[in-house]
Amino acid sequence: MQARWGTHGDHPMIVLCPASVQESFTLTIQAFNLSERFRTPVVLLSEEIIGHSRERVVLPDLSEIKIINRKKPPAGLDRYCPYQADADGVPPMANFGEGYRYHVTGLIHDESGGPTTDPKKAESLINRLNNKIMDHLDEITMTESLMTEDAEIIIFAYGATARSAKSAVKKAREMGIKAGLFRPLTIWPFPAKEVAALCARANAIIVPELNLGQLIGEVERVAGLDTRVTGINRVSGEMIRPDEILDAIKTEVKVKKHAK
């Protein structure tokens, strides 16, 4: 939540959440690529467990890594407007020292980069910043689904907790329970479209989180009243274990039977 709403002003934020050391590596590259593509900060949101993990990491050959660099303005323009966007909402960005002199500020600014208090320009800037992200969710949203196609009970989990959830889902399937795992790698913008699709099929969504319930609010917002959403929360400094998630899955099975 701090990654999303941590500063003043209304602005979009891309936040990526790795579930392994390997993914910390690959998502770091993705984070830079998204940042360069959309000219925006990207947060790679790790947690204590992933941050302290030591795991095998396979580093790909440099030639296999896809690198996106920012688009730059053509040379020789009479006047370069550093915040005048192309059709995709992203303005070409010149580097300092390459000939186009301009001003960068955290204040509300116009297309020239200079500060402004003009309400129309302020509104246009904030809308552009949001739209350039919200119009390109297909390029930004990364998710992973495990056995969700026919699942009646979905575990929505991110970060290290998703690994416990994966184990729980496999055990539930062995017991004949139709459980599935949905893991957002991009947690902001929240993958609302994907979660809505899950809710259309599943009866219940379980959201295990290592906090008192943060992203569950987004899940509830998308799920509405037709899908049961329950949390498993822990703030003791320990992980949520697979058997605890499995217990929650079993509880949902009972709830469903009872409802019948």
Binding site: F96, G97, G99, R101, Y102, H103, V104, T105, G114
Partner: protein, 275 residues
């Protein structure tokens, strides 16, 4: 202002936002005169600023200008200099910005002796936010956050920078404007971390509460309290009470950070055996 320095200004952005009597315009004037004197290449120069009245100066100058977050100007500037050591980087900060919020960035930029020229507008107060006392507000001053008076001792910023490792340290005032241009020019020419503190007046948020009179009176206060390096040597501590020294306070030599870093890169790439 003479036409010769106008090319360093974004005249379309003027008039500036500063209050009548503010000294910031004098510092801005000294900066552009220094640029003129140095024959500055605007495309190859970056001016970074923090937050506060002083930091708005960056936007009025026709360079690559970067108005950053509070206290972090030196962090941004360090990044720019590391990425492109060939670029000349000037950093504008206020006293609160540089000494309080950015205090750690300041001592570590000095310790690294990275080739930046930091110009600190010391008006002894957080002016833009309404007159809260800063680490450079003298003890016994009145501020909105010290209605009875401040009880904290103030930093001697040039002294702090010197002991932290800066290799060029100076102090000027907005009264001694010609000297200020020279100090900025010398600081820019110096290889390594240069800090120039500029004592400037904030008649609205500092002077008014502390009964210092008009903007003119505050300039005269600078004239009376400032003592040159040469003269200070012959004065006793009692005579120096309440006064401050202006001029070039320290000039030393130490390895410059980006040069040392370049050598390290060469070594890591096996191009050089040099330690």
């Amino acid at each position: 202002m003479q036409n010769s320095v106008e090319k360093y200004l974004r005249t379309e952005k003027l008039p500036h936002i500063w209050c009548a009597g503010c000294g910031n315009g004098i510092v801005l004037g000294a900066m552009v005169r220094a640029f003129e004197k140095m024959g500055c290449n605007q495309n190859n120069t970056v001016i970074v600023s923090g937050i506060g009245c002083s930091s708005r100066a960056a936007g009025y100058m026709d360079f690559n200008t970067l108005h950053t977050t509070h206290g972090r100007a030196l962090a941004f500037a360090t990044g720019i200099k590391m990425a492109k050591p060939g670029i000349d980087v000037f950093v504008i900060m206020g006293d609160g910005d540089a000494a309080s919020i950015g205090g750690n960035h300041l001592i570590h930029a000095a310790r690294r002796n990275i080739d930046l020229t930091a110009i600190i507008f010391n008006n002894q107060i957080y002016g833009m936010t309404g007159g809260q006392y800063s680490p450079l507000t003298p003890p016994g001053s009145i501020a909105t956050t010290a209605p009875y008076h401040t009880i904290e001792r103030n930093f001697d910023l040039p002294e702090l920078a010197r002991v932290a490792g800066a290799t060029y340290v100076a102090r000027g005032t907005t009264y001694h404007a010609a000297m200020l241009t020279n100090l900025i020019t010398a600081g820019a020419a110096h290889k390594g971390f240069s800090l120039i503190e500029v004592v400037t007046a904030c008649p609205v948020s500092f002077g008014r509460r502390n009964k210092m009179g008009s903007a003119y009176d505050m300039l005269m206060w600078q004239k009376e309290q400032a003592v040159s390096v040469k003269k200070a040597k012959s004065m006793t501590p009692e005579e120096m009470q309440g006064k401050f020294v202006i001029g070039e306070l320290y000039k030393g030599a130490a390895p410059e950070y980006t040069e040392v870093y370049d050598r390290l890169i060469e070594k890591a790439q096996g191009k050089s055996e040099e330690e």
